[in-house]
């Protein structure tokens, strides 16, 4: 990545473009990532949003964005990006707008839309090789409605619809693999607590055309039950423990951009979050803890 702009933290933009005073919760990991990305991709963008927490960024008649915004519905934000991109291409081709009036179409959705209802429209946008950026802030549940379990919820997590002694019984869906299997131009995982890794990936995505999809782990103080000041620490632990692998897909190849050599046990990540507290208060959940660690170990086996 030698020819890339962002090598040190001091290289990151110092002008912050997203306005303050949004109604997001204190310590929102989703907003953290949107802020970081917005500084990098700038205001010549139209954010095409699906139903989720971030829908409340723009509440009439105010917006924190310097650029444009279009709220669609929960399932079809990528189709909204298709309409905008196609229209801009038509206008450019017919000479009805100048090249400097062009915009980047950026889809912004939560995991509820990305992993579930919106997967069909995302897959189809990749089929059509749509030139767009997709940002999924993944807070591992239907956050805006009170953290019900979604297809992104991890094993064992307590959610509003899995409050039993063992938490959520399903497994987090591998959206990265699903998206990558469609062979888009670029797929990456990021998290706001690793801004350098994020900046390099966004810069890379900005230099190519086609579908570029980013999944951002978004620690959620209200949904995951932790103190807002812990957001960054929890994001870092997600990476260090190996729970949230930072990687990218390009030209048919998956590369891990951060390989945690000495991974602390997953407990260090889990025990800082109320949603996993039942795993530590009862020995009956020891097997579940082992299963989570086992899955992480199995994932990293052979990756170097």
């Amino acid at each position: 990545m030698n020819d890339y702009k962002y090598k040190h933290v001091k290289d990151l933009p110092t002008t912050h473009l997203l306005g303050a005073g949004t109604p997001m919760c204190a310590g929102c990991g989703g907003l953290e990532v949107v802020k970081e990305i917005y500084d990098l991709i700038g205001e010549n963008t139209v954010f095409i949003n699906a139903a989720g927490c971030m829908t409340l960024l723009a509440v009439y008649p105010f917006t924190p964005f310097r650029g444009s915004w279009l709220y669609t519905a929960m399932a079809s934000a990528p189709a909204g990006a298709q309409g905008v991109r196609d229209a801009l291409d038509i206008l450019l081709k017919k000479g009805r707008i100048k090249p400097e009036e062009d915009l980047e179409a950026v889809v912004l959705t939560g995991d509820g839309a990305a992993y579930g209802m919106g997967l069909s429209s995302t897959s189809a946008a990749i089929d059509r090789n749509l030139d767009f950026i997709y940002i999924c802030y993944d807070n591992e549940g239907y956050g805006n409605t009170g953290q019900q379990a979604s297809a992104a919820s991890p094993l064992g997590a307590r959610t509003a619809t899995s409050k039993g002694p063992h938490g959520f019984s399903g497994h987090k869906k591998d959206l990265f693999a699903i998206w990558a299997a469609n062979r888009p131009a670029y797929v990456a995982t990021v998290t706001g607590a690793e801004p350098m890794d994020l900046a390099c990936k966004i810069e890379k995505a900005g230099r190519i055309a086609g579908p570029r999809l980013i999944i951002a782990l978004a620690p959620c103080p209200t949904g995951w039950d932790f103190d807002p000041k812990e957001t960054v620490a929890i994001g870092k632990l997600a990476v260090k423990t190996g729970i949230w692998p930072l990687k990218e897909y390009m030209d048919g190849k998956v590369t891990h951009t951060v390989i945690p050599r000495r991974r602390p046990p997953v407990e260090e990540y889990l025990k800082r979050q109320g949603r996993f507290s039942h795993l530590f208060s009862s020995q009956s959940n020891d097997a579940l803890l082992q299963e989570i660690q086992g899955q992480v170990d199995a994932y990293w086996e052979g990756i170097d």
Partner: protein, 413 residues
Amino acid sequence: MKRVLMTGNSAAAWGARLAGADYVPAFPITPQTEIIETLALWIDTGVMDCRMVTLESEHSMITAAGAAAATGVRVFTATSSQGLLYGMEMIYTVAGWRVPFVMVNVSRGLSSPITLEPDHNDILAARDSGFLQIHCATCQEVLDGILIAYRLAEHERVRLPVIVNLDGFYLSFTREPVEIPDAGAVSRFLPPFDPENIRFRARTPLSEAVAVLGGTLYSYFRYEIHLAALNAVQVFNEIAADYTSVFGRTYETVESYRTDDAELVFVMMGSFATKAKAAVDMLRQAGLAVGLLRPILLRPFPLDQIRRVLAGKKGVAVVDQNLSMGKGGVLHTEVASALHGQPDAPTVLTSFIGGLGGRDISAEEFYEMASITGKAVIEGLTPPPRLLLTELELAEIRKLQAIAQKKRKDKQG
């Protein structure tokens, strides 16, 4: 101007072509598919300077249509039946975006049971969405209706999407002589799309469709849509007058056929109204003073015109090609609300349901409906709504069921 035989679907494609649509987000569904196939061929052979993209669903198709219109291009799309319902969330949503584009719906009965032939439950499901609705009875009206629809949608006092409706099979696949307007004349009638202040551009940021909190703002925006839709009655009349001056054909918000001296009037929408028209002529020959009123514009509802045409009539028979389960005919309810409390309103307003899933309505049935309505006028008693189905048809159904039962028993041995 040339006059050629073409299907309703072909006329729809011609409408989009002559309107100079820039963008066609598409999704195939019977009986609409011929429209997008025709446009695709014109685009691929360079006849039309337009981009077509096949989306993966009608929900996405309508999203893309709205988003493209919000970016400032002229958009055309088409769907039918299940597709319209699959996209219904976005039908309501894009109407709220106030984006002017035109969508053709080729009416087809809704599931269940799944079927292919027409009735109007699909299009009426979109009645309250904010889309305006133009209902066609001929292939010529389909073509003309699309050109008028663009002017209406894009008008500064309206700025709402418009659905142009035609009936599956009866219009979509039926060839009729259609006059194709000259492209030069069309450009005099329909200037290039001016997106005004709704368009996404760098350096002129725009927030579209942002959330509102609380009922006051919500009511404000919903009322704005309603008031814009109401404006569309007057605007339609202005545009129709322009249409007449350029192309010679006359359109009103309603078609009134032999209503002036009529005592009884049928009210019907769509291509099946042409059956009523033929019945009116036959009944007139038999000495009955009968006429037909056909709303062309359903949204906005042409309240004044309907009141004016029906004022002083003795009886009105509304024939609904739709069924609101547990209530009855939708158009009957609409007409009743228009007439109630009017000083010279007809005393009898009968209701008939027919033509569901493309079931024919025979001349005899029109005579019967006229007779029932005439009798009600004399007796001063309005009969309950009738569901059209003959004894012979019922006997045929019973026969089929008996055969199926017999086969099952034989198999079970």
